[in-house]
Structures are given as C-alpha cells and as structure tokens.
Amino acid sequence: MEAFEYVAPRTLADAYSLLGNGRRVAALAGGTDLIVQLREARRSCDLVLDLKRIPELRVVTIAADGSLQVGAAAPLADVYEIPEVRRRWPALVDAASIIGGTAVQGRASLGGNLCNASPAADSPPALMVMGARLRIGSAAGTRELPVGEFFAGPGQNTLLPGELLLEVIVPPMPAHSAAFYHRFIPRNEMDIAVASAGAWLQVGSDGTIEGARIAIGAVAPTPLMVPAAAQALHGRKAGAEAFALAAQEAASAARPITDMRGSAAQRRHLVGVLARRALERAHQRATEGR
C-alpha cells in the first residue's frame, strides 16, 4: 500500500475544500471496497477523504413527500433495519442485505456501492427500477440525476471534479406496484453477481401491466435499464407469457463478457432467467393482499 494522507472533515464545506487542488482524492464511506483496493494496489491516491464524520451524509429519513432519503455514507444495516423501509421498499432491502456479509453491512454504504461503479454491484439495478435519483453536491451547489445516468463504465462514475455524492432519494412506490431484485451467485453467500436483475411492476385491478421497469447487472460495462423489456410488458396481462417476452428482451439487451465469474453465454442465458423470475416476484409483491 502506498502512503497517503487521511482527512476526516466534519462539514461538507470542509470536504469540498479538500477536493481538487490537483490531488488524487479517494472518498471513503464504509471503505469496504476502497481499503481493499488500496491495499492490493489496484488503486492509489494522495488523499483519503473520510466522509463518515459529516452528519448529514449518515442520515436516513422518510421525507414529507413519502420518499426515502439515504445519506451517501449511511451503513447499509442502518437502512434495511428500519421497519418502514422493509415494508415500503423491500427491493432496496433485497439488494442492501446481500452486499457483502452481515459484518460488512454494518460499515458499507449505498453511496460507496454506487460510486465504486462495479458493473456487478447489487444496489444499482434495484434503485434503477424503483426510479431512485441521486443528489450530488459541490462547492457550487447541488444537482440531481437518475441512478441509471450515474455510471460511465467499470469503476467509472459521472461525478465531476469537485463533486461528492450526497444522497440517494427513493420515491414512494405507487399503489399496486412493487419491485424485486436478485442476483445469481454460484455459492449461497460471500460472492459477486454473475448476473442480476431488478424488476418493478404496476398492475391494474384486472391484471393489466400499467407500468414496468427492468434493470440488469453484471452483463454490460454498467448496470443497464432495459426499456424494450418494459415496452414488451406495458398493456399486457401480467403472467408467464408477458414475463417471458420481457425476459427475452433483457437477454438481448445484455452485452456480457467472459471472465472467471462466468461466461458471456451463461450470463446472457442467466439474465433472462433472472429477469423472468424477478418479474414473477415483483408481481407477487404488487398483488399481495388483493
């Protein structure tokens, strides 16, 4: 591990002032990706900027408009252990509770999972299908963008110099709608997605699909939204036939590679299976209690 400076500012203003200046700055939240990367010399930096001491970055709240606002450095366990989160955004729990093991979840953050920008990350497809947005800040002010526009490539996000990810905003789920996220791993724990899929469905009282979103992971340089899958579902009756069509679109949208975690052919096949099963589970959630 190369030598670097470490600073833990207490305010956002102080944090912004440490960005730029020509130095390579690595923002640290939970550190469960960053510290490993630094230790293994897969990444190097001049300054590690620890964001955990900035109070607003650790807050998890449900806002007056019913949206969930998660500070970028809040540990995953602080998010998924809130009963209201489990009830209203179960797909977020689907993802947050399988990132690393239990011990890691007491440290790892949603913000870190997004900024690390792994194509196989678990939170992006779940957040994408729920329509989540990100609030990004800099000394000049803040901006918002949909989660799906945050990723530029493996390990690459679209933050500009001087910017920090501040908050993840998950909107309330509309009536008769639900999301589900899952991944395929060869083992039952402590593994990285070979392929993953999230689905969101809104189903009318007659079973017609009124809204749908499908996102897939680990099958392209970034997590992907699959608009063609959503279009294939829209207006159809929820069920095996529609889900199979959408699954086919998801598989077609995949641009997978072959590596030690799986082959391109396996991933393309799997992502179809996962998309179909995610739709089945989202549908189940959306229609529970009807």
């Binding site: 591990m1 190369e2 060869p186 039952n188 724990e189 593994d191 030690m260 396996q266 096949h269 299976v273």
Partner: protein, 754 residues
Amino acid sequence: MTAAEKPSYRVIGTRPIRPDGVEKVTGKALFGADARPAGLVYGKVLRSPHAHARILSIDTRAAEAFPGVLAVATARDLPAASDEVQALGETAVNLKELSDNVLASDRVLYRGHAVAAVAAASVHVAEEAARRIRVEYEPLPVVLDVREAMLDDAPLLNERLLTRSMGKTISDRPSNVASKVQFVGGDVEKAFAEADAVVERHFTTKMVHQGYIEPQTATVQWNPDGEITVWATTQGAFACRGQLAEVLRRPASTIRVIPMEVGGGFGGKTPVYLEPVAAILSRKSGRPVMLTMSRSEVFEATGPTSGTSIHVKLAASGGRLTAAQLDLAYEAGAYPGSSVSAGAMTMLAPYDVENFKIDGYDVVVNKPKTAAYRAPGSPAAAFALEQAVDELARAIGADPLAFREASSSREGTRMVNGMPFPRIGHEECLRAAMESAHYRSPIEGPNRGRGVASGYWFNAGMQSSVTVAVNTDGTVNLVEGSSDLSGTRASLAMQLAESLGIEYSQVRVTVADTDSVGHNDVSGGSRTTFATGLAVHQAALDIQQQMRTRAAKLWGCAEDEVVYEAGSLRCTTDEAKTLTFAGMAAQSARTGGPINGRASLLARGAGGAFGTHIADVEVDPETGKVQVLRYTAVQDVGTAIHPAYVEGQIQGGAAQGIGWALNEEYYYDDDGRLANASFLDYRMPTALDLPAIDTVIVEVPNPGHPYGVRGAGEVPIVPPLAAIANAIADATGHRFSDLPISPRRIVETLHHLE
C-alpha cells in the same frame, strides 16, 4: 467389526477436550505471524508478472537506495543447490529446483514466481522499494494445459528435461514429460473383447488449492555467529530445517526451527517458500525478518494440486469389473513432481481387477509447482474411475454399491504394483453404506439425484521420535515433534494414557522445536496418530520396563515376576507387593533417578483405508446451481482414537471434496495469469453451501498398529468429486466429465450454449 470383537479401551474411543483447544478458542495460541523476536523487521517478495520468461538482468540499486530499506535479496545470494531429491513425506523435492522456486535464478516459470525480496522496518516501505527493482525479462511462449504440454512442438520449460521411467531415460529429445509410470497386469485386450459391457470416457480436472486460512509466513533470525532460528508454520519442522540447510548450505545443527501453530496445511505446508528468503534478508540486514504472503501470493505461488487429464476404459463381465485401461496425465506445475504415480496406484485400489494397463505422465506446465494436497493424486483419479464404474453399473443394470461390492478388493487382493493387501475394509464400508438410513431412503422430486463413490488412500508410516518424562506427582510430559494439524496432541496423549494405564488429564503434550526432540517426518500421509502413536506406545512400554526393573529391585524379586497392568505394578509371587504408576513415579529419586521413556522408529505396517460416500443433490436446470441436500461419508479408520476428531476429519475432507467438485478451479487467462487469486473468486464452499455431513465410522483394525489405527484425514477427500458427479448425472441425465461442475458448465451444457 462387531462390538464383541472390539477390545475394551479405557481412554481410546472417548472424546476429551484437545490440549490446544482453550488456547485456540481464546485466541492465545501463537501462529506463524505471531512471532515477535526483538528488532523484527518485515520483507516483501517481488514476483514475476510473466508466466514464462528469461531473466536478462536484475537491477536492485534503486531499491537499495530507497529510504528505510535494510536488505535486498536475489538468487545471487543463494548458494548453488545440489541437483538431488529429498523425500518430503508424500512428495519429494529436488533441491536445485526448490532453490530456483524460492528465488528464480535465470528463468521464471510461472506468474508469481519469486524474483527478489526487500526487508525494511515496515512492510509498506519494503513493498514500495520492491517495486523499484528493475527486472529485464525476455518473455517466452507459455504452455498451460497438460495435454498441450505433452505435444512434440510444445514450448519447453526446461531444455535439459528428458522423460524418465523406472530410473531410465526414455526420450531422446527434451520434453515437458518429466516421467512416466506404468502398471500392467493380465490381458486387457482379451478382457475387453470378452466383456459384457464396456465404458470409455475422458475426464479432466483443474488445478485446485488447499485453501488453508493461514497464509504462508516465515520469520528468521540469522545471528552473526551463524546460528539460525526460524519461526515457521509448517507441517514438519525437520523437513523445513532440512530444506533450509540444503538451500542455504548450512549444517542442520545450526538451524533451529520452532513450529508455530498451523492454520491449515492439507499437504501445502511441507515445501519451504519464504524461509530461505527471510534467512538471506536476515543475514544481510542483521535483523530478524518476517515475510508473510498475501492471499493472492498464496494462490499464485504456493503449491496447489495438479490439474489432470484422465482417460478411462473399463469392462464388466459376470456382474463385476474385469478390465481397466487408464491413462493419466498430471500437471506438475513449474518443476517435475506431480502426484501422478499415487493417482495411478490408488485408482484401482478399491477393486480386484485382473486385467489392467495404467500409464501415468508427470508433465511440467507454466503454473506454480504443485504440492501435496490431502491424498495427493487420488481424488482426481477417483473422480474419473468412480464415474466410469457408475456408468458401467448402470449399463449392466446393477445397483452401484452392489456392483462395487461384487468387484471389491479384500485381504490378499494384489494392488497394481503386485503387493497383496493386508486386512482392509472396503467391503465393510460398502455394506455400511448400503445399510445406512441415507441409502435406504428414497430420493424423490424433480431435478434430484443420488450418487455414490469409493476412494482409497495408502496412509503413511515414516519416522517419529518422542520422549516421555515421568514427573514425581504421577503426571507425564510427552515431548513430540509432529505438527498438530488435526487434534493429534489429543490422539497421542490418549494413546499414551491408554498404554500407561493413567488418565488423559495426567498427560501434557508439547510439540517441540528441532533442538528439543529427535527427528520427526512431516505430519502428512495421515501418519501422525498411526506412526507417532506407535512411538508413543513404545515409549510407554519403555517406561513400563524401567518401572518393572525398579520394582523388582525394590521388592527383591525377579524382573519377570513383575507385571505392569492397568497403571499398576504388582509382583506375581507376592500379592502384597503392588505399586501404582504414581507411587513408583514418586520414588524416582530413590530408585535410580528420573524416569524417561523414549522411542524413535521408522513405522512399518501403515494401514491403507477406504471410504464410500453418498450424495443427494438438487440441480436448478435454469441456473445450473447445485444444492447438496444430504451427504453421508462412510470410512474405515481402523480404530477411531478420538471419534469426534475423526468425524471432523471426515467432514472436512468431504467439504473440501464437494468444493472441488462444484466450483473450485484455477482459472487462467491465455497468458498464464491466474484470474481468480482471491477467496472471493476462488469459490470454496461456505457454511451455507454444505449440508450437515453425516459420518459412519467403520473400524476394521489395522494389524500393523497396537490399537488398530489406520489414519483418517485423507481418505475422505477422495470419493466426493465422483459422488457429487454421479448424483448430478442421476439428477440431470447428463454425465459431466470435466471439473468443476459449476453452474456455468451445467447451463452451457444443458442449454447447448456456445
């Protein structure tokens, strides 16, 4: 055996707490990286980024000038080692090759091959300095696959390597095939021609690693007077000392190896990697130096077990196995010395096959030098054979266990090397498996299947020394030199207590350093409870004899009138004259001084053993995921000294075998880079991936040991690969002949993906 036949033991067969248990569960036990000699500094090894290259030059000046650097080492600092082979338990090591493996001199043969090392006050400084060493390489063509390496036009790893067989050179040109073994018996062609059914299939397995949790670490202090102290995590302190003495060209007596607790070895902690390098760095810096590998270094640069390519042709006639034609090619890694001959010798061991022809090839490839891994050579061989046996049983409509029983080896059956088996227990294992609740239960439901498989391991004897000091309060100190990998302090103390007729709690055991006990071979080959146990028993007999001599003197009777029995001495001619063990111990000073028992031996009579496993699996045909639903491991252990630790060994072996079957593999890119050199991507099973593994202990005593011990640790990794594969074949209708049977392989096969 029936209960009536089993001798009644006082201590053997009970389940006391292991002597090292409290220290280990409270975190006080000292492992290799806990060594802290005064003035300790740290080192880092620079490794080759190429899988095959010539080293043109090494410029260490920038590293030497780096602030904080205390020493830099390269192969130039090692004396030229002799080109001779040293026995290392189950494997052997050529010392010239060992030296080159420790620090490459002129050529790197695999990615991760050590090239240089730096010592500094901090490991981070050492790492930064190591990066400043400039090595000029001339990359050479890479060969990774065992069969490709055997081709005439394959890139050569060593232009001086000629193929040898039976002590003779059999190739007239350089080759990557280092050696060939062959076993022939009967008339294979005739047997195939006359067979009721024939099965022929090709199998492959990938390199896999032992996956011990504790990485390699070594701490060495080389004093100016030439005395060298080593704190090592090793399966054999004496083997470590021997290799070090040879590589460094130092007298053995000047090297003291202190064996620390071992965080898993499974055969992989028999060769030295870091010790000679730390020694050089210590000599040059004047400070004790610790080197510790990262996990990726462990994967890239320590010995895994061979990837293999095995061709099998079997025949059945009259309801039993009659002929086998086997061709085995094993990857040795960068230097010769795979476990192919053990594979060739164990492969047919479970069966009495009259006609056989077995060819085995030891082949060098641009991957790390393989090391022993739990029953080295046997699991891959059993993976191939036991699948073909299963297929053959199906072909003739026989129950797979009944077919195995009809074909089974027994006492007197000749092994492929012509030696007859002494009393063995394969048939007993098969019967116990057939009678198990598991095998009698139905396997129902879609995508589910059941598989069985047997396996064999020789178990080893080799050399052990122990001393036992009798204290005047009636307790004893057992000083032994077998690294405790699996609860052997307990199994040895129990045998000593049994043999002396005292309580287990009266025995304290120490695994001593190389200055404090006589020579002991490595803890390997499942030999410790057997062979060091034999030494412990003999040391107890030595004490008994000394006590009888003293009692005879005390009582004024003849020595042969004194009997030692159940922890007491008595005079057969005068009933009033008795003395307990503690009573005699208390009188040591008055009867001739301290009583010390000792024994040193080359253990003969090791008992080979068999296991038979039953696996139930469920396969998700859409994702290729395999869940092991139920697993039962039956094994003949001779006598289970400590049944709980025997069960632990059986479960551990089964767990490793299941991981090997389903997900574990060395995944290389075309340039010879190991792409999954981490526990994240080298997918060993977690606790959530395994069912409870049921064990059935079969006890067919080994006639070569006073308590019937055979050895337990290695047999259980032999059957699982094939048991799982047979279960998957049953569940899916497709026979997978290549390992691992990963989700990728299953979906690509079942869905005909490219």
